[in-house]
Symmetry: C2
């Protein structure tokens, strides 16, 4: 009987195994997961810290039991794969039941990402927000502290700042960039959100952390020293390729290189999720996007191919969405500087509009930036910050960017209009019209 | 000096004249508008009736004075065009300053739509919700009544029902179709919204009005008689082509036929807005869509071409969005039966999902139907009913449908995921996946 082994029971791993199961009801499928959770959602950790829910089981879409009983997927939790022998197609693992070995016909590597670390002298109060299996103890520790430093002003840093200020913690956020979310937003919109967050959080921008001392109670930067009760490090993630880095071909991004079928350089070995490289649809170049919908779809594609239904993953456009209190923050495609680096000639427009008709109560500001290429007229990127209906507009732009819509194509997208939630000239269309007319 | 005359100062007319002005600063531009308002928003009338705002000036994006002073557009309000002489290029009008005549080099016909009427014996309490210039007196009358019948269960009927029930009126809604919004939604989602509205409104479905009597106080249908205090007729609109119907070529939809440049069969005569026919992008066939964003863009295109910057209008996909209390209701593309009529072989999936991650508080149901063509695999239509983030998803599907996305293309749209406002497998993607897997 054919056998599939999956390493890592997160979004990608469970999507791959579920899809393969559906297509090959007879196949033997075994999933190794180092923690106690599968099909879990790291995305929920900030909201758990905020106190919006208390049951850690809610992190899991389905329990291990569900997969074992309903999908006949042999899920082994608390079991870490320690080695892969690619030539004899064997995986070695270690769990509370001791060591084991498992042969495979197909292998999916879906070990996710891991947080980048900072050197620290002691670490009893240095925290990384990463795996839901650690959320309960992480939250317990954070809730017991008063002043907390967050190092890093990317999405995770901002989400941590939201959670902690909602818990009435005093937050110090130290960020290397000149404004928050600078890897997601250009300066115009980055400023909007930086200003907002600066009302709740002590910000140190353009500042580089040199060392963490006293187990997380002292932070030394290139500009000063800060005493806090504990430190969250949120300086980014990197593909977790520990198991395979010397064995399987990696791409230029450091993630596992795959073809469109999610196959590595070993025909029977697939890779999916945060540990996997992709192609940026705008540039055609290798790219790496560690977000959940991409991980799920990569897993689905790997599972389809293993299941005998060929499917290609088309690549990514780097859609991102986050929030800070009343603000939603979305972006897709390339930022302006990134576009230049890839050889485009970006033109852009940034506007501030409203979310509802002028006569409809409760209209909010919405800030939109659209970036296009002067030569090909293609849309390269979009960024939106606002209090309502941000995500849908970003999703629309994702569709547009994925299929190479021009400025004019996008202008003519027949966006719906209802006074209660939109404008007859939608803010996105207004930004595009501005590029068109300039 | 070149002169542009525009008939009708609504969305289409003011977009056309503003765009032409921008491109040709020297051109003489004259707009004739039968009412006292220009660049007005009929879309706001239901919310005015609901009492969400009181200042009728808010119906206008800009005042006549603004156009006269800031854009040098000679707006003549309260002046109705009574005749057009197409061979000598003259327009005849009548206003409070008496009769006048105006020669043109370019003409834009943007007279909008008009409500379909029902025969009635007397009409002091028969109401049509159509022009913002009549909103104040309409509201005054409606507010003085207790029991009000609405004839017609389309978008306008539903919006009127929302407004009136919010004002605590007793509402009887008589509709010919078997469920509400049957021209917008297929049965699955139509049922959801019909059930919701039936909690507030007395519904008579599958019932045909034969006559209105006693000036709107008595309604005779094929199934009964109803005594009410007044009657709103909302059985649909039709293109207002009164001025030109014997002179200018109309299309099969009854609206004015134009080419991609919005030109009628007279080279110098353009048509834009609700009085204008378009092409359905999905079918390639003539189609008629009376909604504000389309009217605005048609006007913009006409104005661009008159201004010497050639631009083509690509056609429509019939994006619609409305609301009823907590529900937003959106659709785009073809309904399933319509798709069959046009020779497609529709396959579809309808699902009920949630708007937020299972652990995030406040998740609401969201109902999604997606329709695709079995042969070409193209997406033909989408319908969504839910309490959050409906419009953005519809806008995304509008983009997809306009550019012929296949089922798989749409599956791979990289929709963003944030637990607070979406699902990692977005409900739209779940519906598409269902089509794909079936
Ligand atoms: C705090 C936080 C918030 C986030 N918010 C969002 C968001 O709002 N939206 C969004 O789209 N994305 C978000 N993400 C990213 C998203 O969580 C990831 O993209 C997604 O989880 C990736 O899925 P995956 O299956 O590739 O990896 P993971 O979910 O990380 O799963 C990998 C699994 O592999 C296991 N594993 C690793 N090595 C081994 C081994 N040797 N043996 C056995 N098991 C192993 C790990 O224990 C883990 O369970 C967030 C991430 C974090 C950390
Ligand atoms: C109650 C209601 C709610 C609506 N809600 C929405 C919505 O939520 N979203 C949406 O997208 N669309 C909505 N619509 C439709 C939208 O209002 C129209 O699509 C849009 O107004 C069309 O613009 P237009 O310029 O073509 O026509 P109009 O706005 O109707 O303007 C035409 C103008 O021409 C004038 N005119 C006509 N004949 C003459 C003449 N002979 N001489 C001089 N002037 C003349 C009229 O007085 C009128 O001001 C709604 C419509 C109504 C009635």
């Amino acid at each position: 009987m054919e056998k599939l082994v999956v390493i890592g029971g997160g979004a990608a791993g469970m999507s791959a195994s579920s899809r393969a199961r559906r297509l090959k009801p007879q196949m033997e499928i075994e999933v190794f997961e180092a923690t106690k959770m599968v099909s879990h959602a790291p995305c929920g950790i900030p909201y758990f810290i905020e106190g919006l829910f208390d049951d850690e089981n809610l992190f899991m879409t389905y329990t291990p039991q569900f997969f074992i009983e309903n999908r006949k997927i042999n899920v082994r939790i608390n079991t870490r794969v320690t080695e892969i022998d690619l030539s004899s197609r064997v995986v070695y693992a270690e769990g509370k039941d001791g060591k084991m070995k498992s042969e495979y016909d197909y292998l999916v590597i879906s070990t996710g990402s891991k947080p980048k670390r900072l050197p620290s002298e002691g670490n009893d109060r240095v925290f990384y927000i990463h795996h839901p299996a650690e959320a309960v103890s992480l939250r317990q520790k954070l809730w017991s502290l008063n002043t907390i430093a967050i190092i890093g002003g990317g999405i995770l840093g901002v989400e941590a700042a939201e959670a902690l200020t909602q818990r009435d913690k005093k937050v110090l956020l130290i960020h290397r960039g000149e404004y928050l979310l600078n890897k997601s937003l250009d300066q115009e919109l980055g400023k909007v959100i930086t200003d907002r967050i600066s009302r709740d959080v002590e910000l140190r921008l353009g500042e580089k952390v040199i060392e963490i001392k006293q187990g997380g109670r002292l932070i030394i930067t290139d500009k000063g020293k800060y005493e806090v009760d504990g430190t969250i490090v949120a300086i980014g993630v990197e593909p977790n390729v520990d198991l395979v880095k010397d064995k399987i071909q990696l791409g230029t991004t450091g993630a596992i290189k795959v073809d469109e079928y999610m196959r590595t350089n070993y025909r029977e070995v697939y890779s999916a999720g945060d540990n996997t490289e992709s192609v940026n649809i705008v540039t055609g170049k290798p790219y790496w996007v560690p977000f959940a919908p991409v991980a799920n779809k990569m897993g689905y594609v790997a599972g389809s191919n293993i299941g005998g239904e060929p499917m290609k993953f088309p690549g990514v456009v780097n859609t991102q969405i986050t929030k800070y209190k009343e603000y939603y923050i979305g972006r897709v495609g390339l930022q302006e500087e990134e576009a230049k680096k890839y050889g485009f000639h970006p033109v852009s427009a940034t506007i501030t509009g409203k979310t509802r008709a002028r006569y409809y109560p409760g209209a909010k500001d919405i800030h939109v930036k659209v970036i296009a290429d002067e030569e090909t007229k293609r849309i390269l990127g979009a960024q939106i910050v606002g209090e309502e209906e941000v995500l849908g507009r970003i999703d629309m732009m994702a569709a547009a960017i994925m299929k190479g819509f021009t400025i004019e194509d996008t202008f003519f997208i027949e966006m719906g209009y209802l006074p209660a939630i939109s404008r007859v000239w939608d803010p996105v269309i207004v930004a595009i019209r501005k590029i068109m007319e300039d």
